[in-house]
Symmetry: C2
DNA sequence: TTTTATAATCAAGTATCTTGAAAATGAAGG
DNA sequence: CCTTCATTTTCAAGATACTTGATTATAAAA
C-alpha cells in the first residue's frame, strides 16, 4: 500500500508540475523520459507514451516551439532524428524540484548504508515487477 | 534514483493499462483515485486531475457510459453528487493486475518484518515529501 | 535491384479540453 | 426571514490535442 501510494503521489506531483509549466500530461511524460535518457527518438516516445507517431510529431512541434527540446540529425539513421532536451527544460524544472530534492536528501541521510541497500533493492525489484507486467499486458 | 525510476515505471504501467482499457490518462487517474477512496466528488476529481469542472463533467459522462462509475445523490449536500466506481471497474482491472500483484507479494515475502518496516517507513516519508512539495508548487 | 520494413511528417476528421455562463443549493450577515 | 455571496455541477461554443491513413525518404532483406 505504501508503494502504491507512492506511485499515486508521484502522478499527482506530475499533474501539479505540468500545470505550472503549461504542459499537458503527455508532454510532461515525454520530457521526463527524455530527461533521464530513457528515450531519444520520436518512435520510442510514441511507444512509451502510447501516442501514434502522428501525434508525437505535433507534440514535439509544440515542445520545440516552447524551447524545451531540439531536433537533431541522427548520424546512425538518416530516416530518423534525435530529440534532446534543451537546457531551458532542466533550468525550469530543477528550480521547481529543488525543495523536494532537499527533503529527499535529508530523508535518505537518516538511514544507514545497510538500510538504504534494502530500500534500493526493494524498489528496483518492485519496479522490475511493473515493467515485466507492463510488457505482458502490452503484448 | 531507484525511487525515481519506480515513479516512472508506475506511470508507464498506467499508460499500458489505460491503452488496454480504451481509457485516456485522465480517466485512468480518475478511476484510480476513486478506487482507493482518495476522492468521491467531481470537484475533488477536478482538483486532483487538474481538469476544469466542465471537462470533469464530460469525463464522468464518458466513464458512466462505459459502465465504470455511477453518479449518486450526495445526502450531505444537495448541490453535489457522489461518484462511485462500479464493480465492472474492479473486475476488469483486477484481472489485469493479478500477475503483478502476485509478483509483489512474492517479493514482499522475502523481507523480514523489520526490513519491511524500514521500507514502508521510507516510502511513506518519501510520499509525504512529494505531497508537501506538490502543495507548495500549487499554492 | 526489387521488395518490404521503418522513421518521421502531414492533412482531415474525431475526441477531449477550456472558457464562460447557467441553475440549484448552501452559508453568512443583517 | 431574506438578501448576498460562495459552492457544486452542468452546458454550449470554441480551442487544443489526438487518431487514421497517406506520403516521402531511407534502410534492410530477398
Amino acid at each position: 500500500m505504501a508503494a502504491r501510494d507512492n506511485g499515486i503521489s508521484s502522478m499527482l506531483f506530475r499533474n501539479v508540475m505540468a500545470k505550472k509549466l503549461n504542459l499537458n500530461l503527455t508532454e510532461s511524460v515525454c520530457l521526463t523520459l527524455l530527461g533521464i535518457n530513457k528515450v531519444s527518438t520520436p518512435s520510442q516516445i510514441a511507444k512509451y507514451t502510447g501516442l501514434t507517431t502522428g501525434s508525437t510529431t505535433t507534440m514535439l512541434d509544440r515542445l520545440e516551439k516552447k524551447g524545451f527540446i531540439k531536433r537533431k540529425l541522427n548520424p546512425k539513421d538518416r530516416r530518423g532524428i534525435i530529440i534532446e532536451t534543451d537546457t531551458k527544460y532542466s533550468d525550469v524544472t530543477s528550480a521547481m524540484v529543488v525543495s523536494v530534492q532537499k527533503a529527499h536528501k535529508k530523508l535518505i541521510s537518516k538511514y544507514s548504508e545497510k538500510e538504504l541497500k534494502i530500500i534500493e533493492d526493494f524498489l528496483s525489484k518492485f519496479t522490475n515487477n511493473m515493467n515485466t507486467a507492463a510488457e505482458e499486458i502490452e503484448g
